[in-house]
Every structure is written in C-alpha cells, then in structure tokens.
C-alpha cells in the first residue's frame, strides 16, 4: 500500500474537462488498443479513470500507470464517439506533458531526445542531412528517449522496427523556399502550403503531385519560406513547450502574404495540430488571438479539393480502391466524406469501403517506432481487413498512415499499393501508358 503523502498529484489544467467523462463506455469500440487487448486499462475510459485517480490522490504515477498512457496512440477516435464531449486529446496531451518530469530518464536518452525531437525534426537543414545519411545511431537514440521502460529488452525489437519504417527517399527533396507554383490558367486564388518536416524530404514526389493537383484546381500554390515542423510529434510525446515554439514560428512564416490565404495541409496529423494552435497557445498573450486566426485558415487538402469541386483528369484508373481514414483527419478535423468523394470521382475506380476504416492503423507518429508490439498488433487487424476488401490500392491522407500501411503490406507480402488521394488524382491528369 502506498502512503497517501507519497502520491504525487497532477495539477490538472482543466479539472472540469477531466470530470466530463461519465464512464459510459461508448469509446471502447473506437479505441484501437482496447480492440486489440480487450483491457479496460488500454481504453480511453480506463486512461481517464487513471488520470482521475491520480488527480484525486488515489493512485501514484507508477511506471505501470504511465505505461497505459504511453500505449495510447492518440488517434482520438474516442472523441468522435463520445456523447459527453470529453476533450480526450487535450487530456492525454497535458498528461503526457506533465508526467515527462516523472520519467526516470538517463542522460544519454535525454540527450538523444534533445537532439532528435527538439533540434533535428524541427530543423529542415539538419534533418535533410540526417535523412540523407540515414544515420541509424541518431535514430536509435530517438527510440530510447521516448520509450524507456524495459529498454534493453525492447531495444532490438524497436531497432528492427525503426529500420523497417525508414522510408525510402522518394525523389528529390521538396524544399520550402517561398516559391510559387502557378496554375495553367489564371489562378482563382492563391493558397499557402505547408511542406512540413519529414514528408518533403522522404516523399518529395508526393508533395509535387499534391501541388500539381492544386494547380489543376486552378489554385496558385505558395510554399512560404521559414516554415517548419508543426509540432505534432512534440505534443504527442508530451513536450508542449517545444510544440508551442514551433507553432509560433509557423504563425510568423505564414503571415507574410495577405495573412488570409487558406493554408493547405496534405498531412492529416499536421493539419490537426495546426487547427488546434488556438488551443495550444491560448495562454500566450502575444499569440493567443493570432493562433486562433491562423487555425481558422488551415484546411486539409482533401477537404479543400472536394469543396473546390475538382474535376479529375480523363485518364481512367481501372482498379479497386479503398480508403483508410487518417485518424487526425476523421476524428479531429471531422473530414470523412471528402477523400471518399474525390476517389469516387475518378473514372474507372471501383471504390470499396474498408471494414473498420475508422479504426487507427497503429501508426500514431512516433508510436510505430516507440511501441512496436502494440503498433504491429493493431496493424495486423488492419491488414486482415485490407485483404478481405479485395482492394488493389489503399488510399490515405497522412504520411504516418502511409508508411505504416506500406510496411504492413510488405510484411504480409500482399499485392496492394498505398497511395495518397492526391497521388490518384494526379495520375488522372497524365496520359495513360
């Protein structure tokens, strides 16, 4: 039995958010980790119960307790089904932030964390060098940091997973240099585009395909200079300080034009983070209102193209295509129909709904590296459903999902391609071979 005075209380920022949960259990069937384990501790309701118990001084923040929070992929599907409107994303984010100091982290992992998540990913130039070199030592440091319990036992597994997850560099880097891509006909509107951190380096071709598609919708696309990582990964692992720093930098970078251009994001996770800058910076007197204005400008590329009533090109794609909801698009940005509408608008495509398409694939940003067992277990069910669907192509809207699905498909040895919705659209404008 733990003595009451030994129990550390977490000072919750917003206690009333925590107590909105009436433990009705509606979230269980939306939660990928509950579906995989069947354990209440790995459910949103269970994680909130643990937060409440800690808040009430009934439970100490032990390694086991933190483990249950760590295992949350933060897909936020629970928010979408919650009848009481519990802001789970805020709760888990602030929990992760507050327990960071409770973690017993050694000097080396902490240094590695400092390097990777605070300096590397946020800095395009450094990251570009690293990606080019594929420096595994540095990457393994990243793993060490974010997940530290049973580290020796797990390290080989994570190492293996990380290596698998290492994306093949795809085409030239896509650099944010303030360039403007103009539409063939005179553009009706200029939009600003987020290039982000990892994606422009590893998926340059996909970035360019997105730009071309926006041009086809008669939009001029500007990629502002000095923009960077959105901060999603930092908030995910509980470093809200760094996330705020990155948010402020992006707000500045995107305010150089008229300050009203739509900010188009082709990575669902980044879009979700940026749509919530308002909340993130709500206690920053200099940025609070700027952040709210900024968030209002952020639009996911699929939603934007669907609303713009994009006409796909004439090239037919005679394939069966399914769609995996990117959690942060469906659950946070509430965009579910737009990507499906776009896919269905393409000539020749036979669209089929994926069973459990609204359940996370287990990617979760760095989660797929830090929690390989759970991530793979969640992915396994996804791949089973994918096989059952009979699809030739699975489309998605987020780089994490892209890499995770691609990895699962390769491991299963099945003949399915992963593509962004914008890749498919882009193909319709090229002459068929």
């Amino acid at each position: 039995m733990v003595e009451a005075q030994e129990i550390l209380k977490l000072p919750w920022l917003n206690e009333s958010e925590l107590y909105k949960c009436v433990h009705c259990g509606f979230c269980l069937q939306a939660c990928p980790t509950y579906l995989t384990t069947g354990l209440e501790t790995e459910s949103p309701r269970g994680r909130i119960a643990l937060m409440k118990a800690v808040n009430e001084g009934r439970l100490e923040i032990s390694d086991q307790v933190m483990r249950h929070w760590d295992l949350c992929i933060q897909c936020r599907a629970c928010e979408d089904v919650c009848p009481s409107g519990v802001p789970y994303g805020n709760l888990i984010e602030s929990t992760m932030d507050q327990i960071r100091d409770h973690r017993k982290i050694g000097f080396i992992p902490r240094l590695a964390y400092e390097i990777s998540l605070r300096h590397l990913i946020p800095n395009q130039r450094n990251l570009a060098i690293v990606v080019s070199m594929m420096n595994l030592y540095v990457k393994s440091g990243l793993q060490k940091v974010v997940r530290k319990t049973k580290i020796l036992k797990l390290i080989s597994k994570r190492f293996e997973r990380l290596e698998k997850m290492t994306p093949a560099v795809n085409g030239k880097f896509f650099r944010a240099e303030g360039q403007l891509y103009t539409a063939d006909v005179e553009g009706t509107e200029t939009i600003q585009m987020l290039s982000g951190c990892v994606m422009p380096l590893t998926q340059g071709n996909q970035m360019r395909a997105a730009v071309r598609t926006l041009n086809k919708a008669n939009k001029d696309v500007e990629v502002p200079l000095n923009q960077g990582c959105c901060g999603a990964i930092n908030s995910h692992v509980g470093d809200l300080g760094k996330a705020k720093e990155l948010a402020r930098a992006n707000i500045e970078a995107f305010s150089k034009g008229s300050g009203t251009e739509p900010i188009i994001v082709n990575s669902a996770g980044c879009g979700a983070r940026m749509r919530e800058y308002g909340h993130l910076l709500s206690d920053d007197p200099d940025y609070a209102s700027k952040a709210v204005d900024f968030s209002k400008r952020v639009v996911d590329i699929n939603e934007y193209l669907d609303q713009a009533k994009l006409q796909p090109g004439e090239t037919s794609i005679p394939k069966t295509v399914t769609y995996q909801d990117s959690c942060h698009l469906a659950n946070v940005q509430k965009v579910k129909d737009a990507p499906r509408n776009l896919i269905k608008s393409i000539d020749g495509i036979d669209f089929c709904e994926l069973k459990g398409s609204n359940i996370c694939c287990g990617a979760g940003g760095t989660y797929m590296i830090t929690e390989p067992e759970m991530s793979e277990a969640v992915l396994a069910e996804k791949i089973r459903n994918l096989v059952d669907s009979g699809a030739d192509i699975i489309a998605t809207a987020n780089p994490g999902c892209f890499m995770q699905l691609d990895n699962g498909i390769k491991a299963a040895g099945i003949n399915v391609e992963v593509k962004y919705v914008t890749d498919l659209l882009d193909e319709t404008y090229t002459k068929s071979k």
Binding site: S16, H23, G25, L39, R45, A49, L59, V65, P83
Partner: protein, 486 residues
C-alpha cells in the same frame, strides 16, 4: 471485504493464471482501479480480474471461487446504468472481452450463435449483407455486449414494435454457480419444460454466467421512413402519441424530447428545430413499402389535429440520420449545460405521460435541479435526466433522492421501476415501492433454486439487508403461505 478474505483471493492468483493463462489475470492496482466502475454512478472493489476465453475456463474459475466462497461478477463492456457489472462484494470480475466471436450465422433458420462479448451492433453489421439484423438496439449498441444485454434484458428505441432482448433469444449456454455447463433451450423457437432461458434473461447475472447465445435474426425491412414533428406543448405531443397508438399503429420507434432537450440539442448540434417547440416527436416506421406509406400518411393526419409547428419526413438514410441527430446528440448536449447528469429510467402506461411529466416538472421546480425529459414515448419508457455537479457537496445525495421520487411517481401511476436499465445497485432499495415482501421472497426463491451460496453477482436486485440472504425466511413463503414472511 476483510483483509484476510482479500489475502485469500490474492493467493488464488497463481491458480487462476493456470486456468486462463498468466496474461489474462490482472491484479495490479491500476488494473483493478479501472474495473471499479461501469456506466452507472456506483463503484466496487474487485480483487482480481480474469479474462477467460471459454465456458470451460469459466467453469474452472467458478469451481475455484466456490470452493473458497468468493463472489464472482461477470462483466461485458461495462456500459450498464444500474451497476450490474460492479463488484459490490469484491471478489473476482470475469471480463468477457476475449469471448467476442460470432460463432455461427444460419440465414435459413434466421439465428446466430454468438459469444457474450460480441458487441450488439457488430452482430447486425456482420449479418447485414445477408439482409438480416438483430432487433434490440440499446442506445449504447456501438459498445454494449450481447451478454450484458441478456443480463439486463435490454431494450432500445426500436423495441416498441419488435420487443426487448428476451423476445429475441432462442437459447443459451450457461455456466451455473457450481461450475456445471449446460444449455437453456437451443435454436428452436419453442420447447418443453420451464423457460429457464426466459428467467435467466434480465436476472442481472445473479443466476448464471452466459457463455453462448443463440439469437433470432430478423429480415431487414424493405422501407424505412422517419418523421419529425414539433409541437408547441408536451400535452399536444402526448395526445398525438396516444392518437397514433390508439389508431392501431405500432411504429418501429416513437421518441419524444421536451423543451429542455430541444434547447440543448439545438445549441449543441444545431438540429434545426422550430422556435417555440415545447416537444418534438420522432417516429420511425419500417417494413413493407406500402405499409410504411399508408401508416405515415395516417400518422401525419393524426398529428395535424394537434397543431404541429412543423412536420419533416425523410426516407433516405442521410436525411433520416439528420432527423435523428438531435435525439442522438441530446445526452452530450446536456453535458454542456452541467458537469453531470443522472439518467433515470422508469416506465408508465403510455396514457399517463402528460400527468407524470407534469409531476416531474413540478419536482424539478421544487428542488431547483433542472430535469430534461427524453423518452421512448411509444412504450411509456421515461428517461428524465437530472442535471448536477458531482463535486458540489450534497448534489449526489439530492439527485438520488429526486430519482427515487420520480420512480415513486411512476409506480403510483401504474408503472414500474425500470424499463430497460435494470435494478442492480441503483434501485434495489426502491424495490419495495413496487413489490410486496412476498413478491420479493418469491423472487429470491428463484435465486435459491439456482444457488444457495449467493456468490454470483451478490448484493444486486434485492433491497440491501434483505434479499435472498435469509434463505429460511424465503423458504417459509413456499412452505407456510401468506403472512409467513412478515
């Protein structure tokens, strides 16, 4: 539960691990903490959680528990609202989370055999492509399990026309308190002997643990139509309900919301209800195309007699979803008005709606606690929701007292204590409102016929301090006759 009892159970952990596998026995403090609750406001303290995968494993767990006189509580998804899955007397919680397979679907005989942990909606989704569905649809159907539905004899909005869980279960495999495994009924719709199936359904896990269930499947309707009607007053809406039923129509669903719910839903989801609406009716008809059309015309005509502010009709899935959005968003919307709400469940004869709602409103005014009324009007099932703040001293006690008062009003109007949530811990002390000592003793004889040790979900259904604890008293009812119990 005393320290020594606690220790005794802890000592059984290795044996339990032998039975279900070491990964499926939980006794870490954090693990136990999240099995304290279900969807109700009660709590209990289990000592160990097991997650078995078969009737054989459950049988072994029960035999072990019995040999040490340890209480056992079965748990589905923990969405129940009356405390059915709470380990009131501590002991072992058996989670059905791993017993979640659909074992057989027989489309020709229109039944399916499922494990208790199968989620209600998953079954309908699974058999949907064959043009079939499972009718009982509790509001929690996305999360609740069929095993839990059996324990509580769950209903749902569409039970008006199609009946509750007991009307859709053909048979089930159970494990009895002594660990023996048997079937009550099978896949036939009729049979001989006492209806053991029927008495086990709704027994809140106190008679047996269900391990396989054979359920009836219905053919999906050809046509579905939803109508939304807004009225100025609750009296008009209630009169319309009486008119519809009286005209010989039993819609698939017939739901009502009062002005409070309308306002909340409007603010939360922008359901687009007309201004000044005091009550909204949602009517859903399904079945043969012609039958739906004929009845909806007639319903519209009946409702026109009571001066509706608006009538909206939808027959495609998206439009129907829009009409339902307000109704489905109400509970969440109430969460915006107050930190907590206490959802009361009682049933009255449909004709008493106006009178009972008036009494509930008066109660709300007297007590100062807002009460929003959401009801399955078609079958007289009320869900008054009392808004409160659990952190405010005295609030919990007060709203529980108001809830009890509402139930008293229901029973006095010829109604009952629970329409679909069950008695559990929540209403056990209100049982005497509805039942005489003889009635309750007769019920406890049923429990005694199943097991005398009172180890399966003890402390539920019967009033605290009474119940089947005193076997000799209950037995007197069978031997001696009237008056013997008192």
């Amino acid at each position: 539960m005393s320290q020594s009892e606690l220790l005794e159970i802890k000592n059984l952990v290795p044996e339990l691990k032998n039975i279900v596998g070491s990964d499926y026995v939980l006794d870490d403090k954090a693990d136990l903490l999240v099995y304290e609750y279900d969807g109700s406001i009660d709590r209990g303290n289990p000592v160990v959680i097991v997650l078995p995968q078969s009737a054989t494993e459950i049988s072994s767990v029960l035999k072990l528990a019995r040999s040490h006189s340890i209480p056992v509580v079965a748990r589905g998804a923990g969405t129940g609202l009356s405390g059915g899955a709470i380990a009131e007397h501590g002991g072992i919680v058996i989670s059905m989370a791993r017993m979640n397979k659909i074992l057989e679907v027989n489309a020709d005989d229109r039944y399916a055999i499922v494990e208790p942990g199968v989620v209600n909606l998953d079954l309908s989704t699974h058999v949907g492509p064959q043009g079939l569905y499972y009718a009982p649809d509790p509001s929690s159907q996305r999360a609740c399990t069929i095993g839990g539905n059996i324990a509580e004899n769950s209903g749902g909005p569409h039970c008006l026309a199609y009946g509750v869980t007991t009307n859709h279960v053909l048979g089930m495999e159970v494990v009895l308190a002594d660990g023996s495994v048997t079937w009550f009924g099978e896949n036939e719709r009729d049979g001989i002997g006492y209806d053991l199936r029927g008495i086990t359904i709704g027994s809140e896990g106190t008679l047996a643990i269900v391990t396989k269930i054979s359920v009836r499947l219905l053919r999906s309707p050809e046509h579905v139509k939803t109508m939304l009607m807004a009225f100025e007053t609750i009296e008009d809406a209630s009169a319309a309900v009486t008119g519809i039923i009286g005209a010989g129509m039993v819609p698939a669903a017939l739901e009502m919301m009062d002005h409070f719910c309308i306002k909340a839903a409007e603010e939360a989801v922008g359901a687009g209800y007309p201004e000044g609406a005091g009550a909204v009716l949602l009517v859903e008809l399904d079945g043969l195309f012609e039958s739906v059309e004929e009845e909806s015309d007639e319903i519209e005509a009946i409702c026109r007699e009571f001066g509706p502010l608006e009538i909206r009709v939808a027959d495609d899935a998206m439009e129907r979803e829009k009409l339902w959005s307000g109704r489905k968003g109400v509970l969440g919307a109430l969460g915006r008005l107050a930190p907590n709400y206490y959802l009361v469940d009682g049933t009255i004869p449909r004709t008493k709606l106006v009178d009972v709602l008036k009494q509930i409103n008066e109660l709300s005014e007297r007590s100062g606690y807002p009460i929003a009324n959401l009801l399955h009007a078609g079958d007289g099932n009320l869900h008054p929701s009392i808004l409160f703040d659990e952190r405010k001293p005295g609030d919990v006690e007060n709203i529980l007292a108001i809830g009890a008062e509402i139930l008293r009003i229901c029973v006095e109007s010829g109604g009952v204590l629970s329409g679909e949530h069950g008695i559990g811990l929540e209403k056990q002390d209100q049982m005497p409102l509805m039942f005489s000592d003889e009635d309750m003793a007769t019920m406890s004889l049923l429990k005694i016929a199943f097991e005398t040790e009172d180890l399966l979900n003890p402390g539920k259904v019967f009033p605290t301090g009474a119940g089947c604890g005193d076997i000799s008293q209950a037995r007197a009812i069978a031997r001696v006759g009237p008056g013997a119990y008192i």
